[in-house]
Structures are given as C-alpha cells and as structure tokens.
C-alpha cells in the first residue's frame, strides 16, 4: 500500500474548491455510459494521478460525484467513464466538447502496482469496474518486462454493456496478455463466453504463490470472485478490491463512505481483501 508520503498531493488550496477543466472529447460507450477526456482550462491543474485513484467531478450548478480515473496523461489530460446513475452523473454524461467541468483530487490509495512487481497479475473487472483498472493495464503494458503472466477477465451484463470495446480488440491481439471476455446473457450475435466472471476463474492461468489479483466491479461480483480465487488457493492477502461508497468530501470529513474502520475515500478505494473480507460477507455495512 502507498504511504501518505508516496501519494501525490491533492489539489492545493481550499480542499473543497474544484479546479476548472475543459471537455476535449466525448465518446459514447453504451446507451447510458460516456467517456470524457478533459484538460486543464486555466493554469491550475490537479496533481498527477495514480492508477486506481479517483477524483471528484463537478457539474456546475448541479454538484459533485466521485469518479474513478480511467486515464491520466503527463500533459494534464484526464479520462473518465461515467454511467448516468443520477443528477450529477447524468449532467456529466451530457457534456460536449468545449464545456467546462470542475475537478478536485486525486484522492485515495490506488492499485499497489509496485508491490506486485515480478508477480503474475490477474485482473477481474465487472461492468463499470473496468475504467478504474484501465490505467493499471497500461502501466503493466508500459513495464511489461517487470511482471510475469498477465490475465484479464472482463464481464458485463450483455455485449452492449461492454465498455472500451474497440480498445479491448487491440488488447486481444497482444501475445503477452491473456484476455477473457464474458457476458451474463447474450443473443445469437455473441460468439464469446456467456456467464458471470466467476465462471471464468477455473480457466484462468495463474500460479497461486506468485499471483496478485486486482478486482473491481459490483460488490457481489468482487465478493464471489475473491471467494473463487481463495478456493483456487490464492491467499486473501494477494487480492485487492476497489470499494465504492457515497461520498461528499473525499477527504475523510463527511463520514458517508465509511466501510467498517475504513474511509473509502482516504484508506481506499483499493483495499486488501483479507482486511475487509469479514465486512464483505455482511449485509448493509
């Protein structure tokens, strides 16, 4: 886990004041999901992001929502994939190039990539769990020789719910990556696997002693996947999950995101499975 010292500093200045960014590009992923690329509008920009971190995205006059970082570039561009699930995410999904959006962050502890160096990597994403894993995938590509086998299992409800569809086809062509894509339900047009992501675990190729697993998706999907991985012999300490909770402040003051002793905003969103296992098995924590 990153210590506070390794972590990029959040936006300087007032901790709750968003920094204006401009929308550069917009792409429709699915009927209710949009990817936006934003860039600094003025001279101010937020700190460098780490894979797995999130920001608070602000729609002027509407409000803020915590959104995972799906991509970050040295020139200050940020990529976010947003599903229309309410007032704020609905407004973010309606943005067009040239529009202004507010950003503050980056927040939280991301994927512990450094710790996983030299190990096999298993990534399991469910639905909108893929965007926060995307920067991790590119980090692995960039330092591919530092890692052993890399396998990605990605599942969505139906083929039309798959995000980054074209990009995934380019991943499929790599010979240094094993990719399994599955959907819960599909029609005749789908030639791939059908079934929830856990049905692909028995087929995953990893050695239990040298594998780190990164999981992101709905809570039930992460819980079932982690249980399946542990059943195959992976240690709970080698599994990382990214939690999602209601958030207002993102810096540990508002109390909304508590998950047992963790503030998901500050201690998470990425948490080690063995530390939250007992909470994931309870209702309504």
């Amino acid at each position: 886990m990153l210590t506070d010292a390794d972590r990029p500093a959040p936006t300087p200045g007032h901790p709750f004041a968003p920094v204006p960014y401009r929308v550069r590009a917009v792409a429709t992923e699915t009927p209710d999901t949009t990817t936006i690329v934003i860039e600094p509008w003025g001279t101010r920009r937020i700190g460098r992001t780490q894979p797995g971190q999130f920001v608070m995205l602000y729609a002027f006059g509407i409000g803020e929502s915590p959104i995972g970082v799906a991509g970050g570039h040295p020139d200050g561009q940020l990529v976010h994939t947003v599903r229309n699930a309410g007032k704020v995410t609905g407004a973010l999904g309606r943005l067009t190039p040239g529009d202004t959006v507010g950003v503050r962050g980056p927040y939280g502890h991301g994927w512990p990539i450094g710790e996983a160096k030299g190990r096999d990597i298993l990534i399991v994403a469910g639905g909108l769990g893929l965007p926060p894993l995307r920067p991790l995938v590119y980090e692995l590509f960039a330092r591919r020789e530092s890692y052993g086998r890399v396998e990605i299992i990605y599942g969505a409800r139906t083929p039309k719910d798959l995000v980054y569809y074209d990009e995934i086809q380019t991943w499929r062509r790599r010979n240094d990556l094993r990719l399994q894509v599955t959907v819960d339900a599909a029609g005749r047009e789908w030639y791939g696997d059908v079934g929830v992501v856990t049905t692909r675990i028995p087929d995953a190729r990893f050695e239990t002693g040298r594998t780190t697993a990164f999981l992101c998706g709905p809570e039930i999907m992460m819980r079932m996947t982690a249980q399946a991985l542990v059943a195959r012999g992976l240690a709970p300490e080698a599994i990382w999950v990214s939690m999602e909770r209601n958030m207002k402040c993102a810096v540990g003051f508002c109390g909304h995101c508590q998950f047992g002793p963790s503030f998901v905003c500050r201690d998470g969103p990425v948490l080690r499975y063995d530390r939250v296992q007992h909470l994931l098995s309870l209702r309504e924590v």
Binding site: V251, F253, L282
Partner: protein, 387 residues
C-alpha cells in the same frame, strides 16, 4: 498587569466573579456559555454573568430532561444540555465557497472564515475531551478542514469541573472526567459550602494566564484546604455517575458481534430520528449541497450536518447501502465505540450521556453494549452472512 503563571491557583469570590467575565470581553473575546432557553440549558452568546443559569439544575434520564430550581445560587449546578460546543467550530450550516460562471469556465472563491476570538465559558471535562476528538477528526489527517481550523485557533477554553453528575453521565467509564486533566486554558471549581460562595481558579495555559493577569485585585490566594475542597467535589461527582460502561475490549467485542441479535432488538425501538447524532459532541458527519442562484451564473456550496441514521446517507446508484434501521444503528454504535479507535486513536464517546437523554424512546447505549457483552458470539441469521 500582574503576571500570572501556568499552574497558579487562586480564589475568585462570587462577588468578584463578573470581573473574570469583564476581563474576557476586554481582552476581545466573545463569551459563549450556558444559559436557560426553552426549558433547557444551552450554549449561546452571553452578555453578562446574569445570563448564566443561576440557581438552576437539570434532572436527566433516558429520554428525560427537566430543569429544576436549586435551593442555592450555584452558577454551574447542572451537567450538560442538548447543545454542545461543536456548533461554534463546525456550524450546522456553513457556506464553503461561491462559484461564478466566466467566459469558458468558472472561478471559485473560498468562503473567508472571520469572527472574533471566542471564550468557551463553562466547558465540562467531557466536553474538553470531545473537543480533543473533533480536533483529531478535522485537523489530525493529511488535510485540515479550513473552517474548523480557523475557528478553533481563536478559542479560549474555560472549564468548570462538575459539582454533580447527571442521571445519564458516564465520563468516569470513558476516562474523560469529571476532573479536568488537560486541554483547558482556565479551570474553575465552584465551591458552595464551607465558607462563602467562591471558585477555585487554576491557570492552565499562557492564554489563560493573560486573562487572569488582567484581574489581580479580584483574586485571593488559594490555600491547601481550597484545593482539597475542589478535589473532594470532583471525587463526589465521580462517585455518583448515573451510568457505567466498561470499556475493556469494547472495539473487539463490537467487531466480533456484528450479527448479534441485540441489533434487531434495538432496531425495533430506534426511530432513526437522528437526535443522538445531533446532540453528540463528536458526531461529525455532513453533506454538501449545491445552491444555484436564479440566474444560473452563481452557485454556492453549503455544508450541513448529516447523520448516519438518514436513509439517503449511503445512497449509491439510487439505492441505500444501509436500508434497515438495524444497519444504521449498528453503524452508529460500532463507529462511535469501536472503529473510531482505528480511525482516530480514541473512542468517539466521551460519556456525556446526551444520546441517552435526548433519545425520544430512551435507548441507552450503555445498556445495548451490556446486552451484547452478556451474550457475546450470539448470531441472528437475519443479520448474518450473505452467502
């Protein structure tokens, strides 16, 4: 001005007591303290010593609070009311910033935090402990809350050791009172017997010494018998706590009993009214609210108190994570007494008893904990595992 030293003990007579008040206002402090309003003792701006609840006391129990007349003229003859000092540092509603639309974007102006230095006059030991807790919450992490920090830096803490305990008090269990050990600038003990009505005044900080230095003629030397008298008052208060709550292994007890049937039992009584979180001197949860102007060009961001008992508190993708009253009461209690330790290195409870007194159905957290402690490891299938 005569120099007073930290550690000095003096006697302030009842007749000279207003001089301490004047010294505070002359030093530029706005004095906040206890006063009677709407049948309760609350904290508000005081104009003079005459605003103090002279001759009043309170009688408290689970779901009960009544003011009663005392048969003496004590100024501090009660414990704590529904108000806490929290609201002066972490207001119930607060504007955080204002944003204005500009060509191509917007600009944000952070809300300036202005105001005079505040003298918190009449803080109890449990309330000093609560201030220590909220200091850790709002200032102890990597980011400090700007509003809280700015107001907190201007506070003078004048403590009054409790001369009696309330029916719902358990500061002795929580190790926070009734004697003041740390965190005050001045410490008063009201002495009503064995001589004229008077106060033992202890100087506990340089800021306190500066105030006391303004009123040398109002003070008399304190003898050993005065100190002993004050200690006896505190000891008598400690011996008459209305409640007890053994804290040994409490976080572990709660962590190990998240599926205990007692949660179902308390959920049948709890109204999810949020009273306990509103009166708690350490509860810190809040929400942010976007308030747009009619012209759509200016918006304000407000923060207001929220509660983990509210259904919308955990809303995620249009559904609440904690839908049941059971899960919300469990979150509140396990946080307050358990996970708070992991988050802030201290309990979130200071034993003031407000949540017991102001619960409309009289839920008593000390009784809930005792019930779990009596049958640890019991499990109800309903609250238990998902798989």
């Amino acid at each position: 001005m005569v120099r007073a030293e930290v550690g000095d003990r003096r006697i302030l007579s009842r007749s000279a007591f207003p001089e301490l008040f004047h010294a505070l206002t002359e030093a530029g402090y706005q004095v906040i303290g206890p006063t009677v309003r709407d049948g309760a003792i609350v904290y508000d701006r005081l104009r003079s010593v005459a605003d103090l609840p002279e001759g009043w006391t309170d009688r408290q129990g689970a779901g009960q609070y009544r003011l009663e007349r005392r048969n003496d003229a004590a100024l501090f003859g009660y414990t704590v009311g529904p108000a806490s000092w929290k609201k002066f540092l972490f207001p119930a509603r607060e504007r955080l910033w204002t944003a204005t639309k500009e060509e191509g974007g917007f600009s944000v102006r952070a809300e300036p935090v202005e105001g005079p230095p505040l003298a918190f006059f009449g803080m109890r030991a449990c309330e000093l402990a609560a201030l220590g807790v909220t200091d850790r919450v709002f200032q102890g992490g990597p980011v400090a809350d700007p509003g809280y920090s700015a107001r907190r830096a201007r506070v003078l803490r004048i403590a009054v050791q409790c001369g009696q305990s309330g029916g719902t008090c358990f500061c002795v269990s929580m190790g926070t009172g009734p004697g003041v050990r740390a965190g005050a600038d001045l410490v008063l003990t009201e002495i009503l017997t064995h001589g004229p009505h008077r106060f033992l005044l202890e100087v506990a900080s340089e800021a306190g010494a500066a105030v006391v230095g303004r009123i040398p003629s109002a003070l008399a030397a304190a003898g050993a018998e005065d100190t002993e008298r004050a200690e006896a008052i505190v000891a008598a208060t400690a011996a008459s706590m209305g409640r007890t709550m053994p804290t040994e292994g409490l976080p572990e007890l709660l962590r190990g009993n998240l599926a205990h049937p007692r949660w179902e039992d308390v959920a049948r009584r709890c109204l999810s009214c949020t009273n306990c979180t509103m009166v708690c001197p350490t509860c810190f949860c809040s929400s942010h609210e976007e308030v747009p102007d009619l012209d759509g060009r200016t918006v304000e961001r407000w923060r207001h108190w929220d509660s983990c008992f509210n259904l919308a508190f955990t809303e995620l993708h249009g559904q609440s994570v904690r839908k049941s009253g059971l899960s919300r009461y469990r979150q509140w209690l396990t946080h307050k007494l358990g996970t708070w330790h992991e988050q802030f290195g201290t309990s979130g409870c200071v034993g003031c008893g407000r949540c017991i007194t102001w619960c409309p159905v009289g839920i008593d957290l000390t009784a809930e904990v005792a019930a779990i402690r009596a049958t640890p490891g019991a499990v109800t299938p309903k609250a238990g595992g998902k798989t």
